[in-house]
Amino acid sequence: MSIAAKFEIEYLQYLDQDGKEVGKELPEFAKDLDHMVELYKLMVSTRVFDAKSIALQRTGKLGTYASCLGHEAAHVGIGSAMRREDSLAVSYREYGAQLYRGVKPREVYMYWGGDERGNDFADAPKHDFAWCVPIATQCLHAAGSALAFKIRKEPRVAVCTIGDGGSSKGDFYGAINIAGAQNLPLVAVIVNNQWAISVPRRIQSGANTLAQKGLAAGLFCIQVDGNDIIAVRKAMEDALERARSGQGGSVIEAVTYRLGDHTTADDARRYRGEQEVKDAWDRDPVPRLRKWLEAKGKWDEAKEEAWKAECDDWMDKEVDAYLETKTQPATAMFDYLYAELPADLVAQRDFVASLDRQS
């Protein structure tokens, strides 16, 4: 028998679910414990932010909100590996990555609170894409960004994130395909949280791993423990370095779990068992890193309390800023359609201005 091709998918993990090292030599960044503390702090603040968002939604101050509970290691791992000049194309729940890149909680609240201005990032890179609700479409934007970087010979990388469900969509396959064919600096991270609303991972694909989808595209592929931030960050660093130096794109599958409902409009108890969720809490990424840092003498209960209090203050300020933001005039719906308002729309806009004056 002659074999035309043979493949393997590596699985990467540094910390087990109890925060113990599995025996693999730690990557350089993880030896900088102060840096690891910073990553941990952002994972905690992301979680505090998330809880605040859900509370806002429950009290009618936010629309439908997609929680990131349980994804903190994956999201912060992705965001913290990137350079500012790289570009990020997310779907909707990757707040940990976005906060790292300078998106403000108040901006998240604005968008999910029904106000387009949340997407006008003040501090995050202007070349980072907005939230992208039509599943998987952002993957092609990242591929196009990567193509632009390649054409202009810029040492930049385009990163997209996508769910396990989203990796079924043609847009995802198209993005990794052109990246392989043109050797584009694209890193596609599949955040596999086991569920696409009520649809379990097994219904999305017959493949053993989602990472291996990248093999057919000619990309480097790896599966990582998505609840181990060291593994996520290391896989990201390697992928970014390969892409930046012209060695091609990657698909990273970060295996994690959606601990919450799909969104605040969903009730996961309808379709998944309690035991499964209980087991997933044992793999919670936040206490895992905390235990590791505590064992290194870099974290303790007092620090935890102090940081959480700081996060609470921070989020309260963000919530206040959000709630104090006045609704746009209704005419705003016309003001960003074209560079200049076309003459044919002036009368419609004037009419809407009269509605504004009435209310």
Partner: protein, 326 residues
């Protein structure tokens, strides 16, 4: 007999037809155990099994394309787009194949399929969950475009859509999914797909609409009545192929017409009705045809969406303008 909502009527129609026709299958995202994100397919998988109610991988092109394949092979698929804003990847399969196969094969192959989608704004939903884009489908020959506006019409029209030998887009106005209940006998009686429904008789002005806006038009008719103006209200229900006769008859009687829809004005389906009126009823018109529609903008995120959607006030004012004109 139980009183049911519009969405329960959708479920009731699906269950009826699945029980009476084994070739009917339902497919889409989250339609199985979860019963659909709005619960339109609630309980169906339990009743009919996993092969008749299929959760698909998350890919609208897949859903639409396998729907064409199923239908050509003699099944009667009812595919769900989770929201109308996610229907765009389905359009290639619908426009290039579903709507063309009968014509392409001179009748050898047909596509008796239904695409359902929750449609329209007004529920404080996130971006892409509030679209009204029926006009993108009314311009596709070979397709029927249907939109119910009451529980009874949802039941009867959906049965008709499933039984129809050709592809049907079935858009469900989600804003009125649970607006009110009415008695809908589960008798398997379909409604015709080639008539507009006159919901209220009037003599001074005709309000022509479809979907959720039927509610605003009926309210506007009440207000107009208080002002001594008698408004006829027509629910188009099946947009294409259009029963223009019913509209023409009404406008010939009233001499005035206000067309109301959520979608943007320019090239919205109201433009087609206005054009037909100018072609076929010009000499009966006593005033210019008015359109009360969404603006030529994207529907804003929800803080401003009610400013975008046609309001009762705007409809009343438009009707009054037609009366002031003559």
């Amino acid at each position: 007999m139980a009183q049911i909502t519009l969405i329960e009527a959708v479920t009731q129609a699906l269950a009826y037809e699945m029980a009476h026709d084994e070739s009917v299958v339902v497919l889409g995202e989250d339609v199985g155990v979860n019963g659909g994100v709005f619960r339109a397919t609630q309980g169906l998988q339990e009743k009919f099994g996993e092969w008749r109610v299929l959760d698909t991988p998350l890919d609208e092109t897949t859903i639409a394309g396998v729907t064409v394949g199923l239908a050509v092979q003699g099944m009667k698929p009812v595919a769900e787009a989770q929201f109308e804003g996610f229907i765009y990847p389905m359009m290639e399969q619908i426009a290039c194949h579903a709507a063309r196969l009968r014509n392409r094969t001179r009748g050898r192959m047909t596509v008796p399929a239904v695409w359902r989608a929750p449609w329209g704004g007004g529920i404080r939903a996130p971006e892409h969950h509030s679209e009204a884009n029926e006009h993108l489908f009314t311009n596709i020959p070979g397709l029927r475009v249907v939109m119910p506006s009451s529980p009874a019409r949802a039941y009867g029209l959906l049965l008709a859509a499933i039984r129809d030998p050709d592809p049907v887009m079935f858009f469900e106005p989600k804003r009125i999914y649970r607006q009110y209940k009415e008695e809908v006998p589960d008798d398997g009686e379909a409604l015709p797909l080639d008539v507009c429904f006159v919901l209220r008789d009037g003599t001074d002005v005709t309000l022509v609409t479809w979907g959720a806006q039927v509610k605003e038009c009926l309210e506007a008719a009440d207000e107009l009545a208080q002002k001594g103006i008698s408004a006829e209200v027509i629910d188009v229900a099946t947009l294409t192929p259009l029963d223009f006769d019913t509209i023409a008859e009404s406008v010939t009687k009233t001499g005035r017409c206000v067309i109301v829809h959520e979608a943007p004005k320019t090239a919205g389906y109201g433009a087609e009705i206005a054009a037909r009126l100018s072609e076929e009823c010009l000499y009966s018109l006593l005033a210019p045809v008015e359109r009360v529609t969404g603006f030529d903008t994207h529907i804003p995120l929800f803080r401003l969406e009610m400013k975008y959607l046609p309001s009762v006030e705007r409809i009343v004012e438009a009707a009054q303008r037609t009366l002031a004109a003559s």
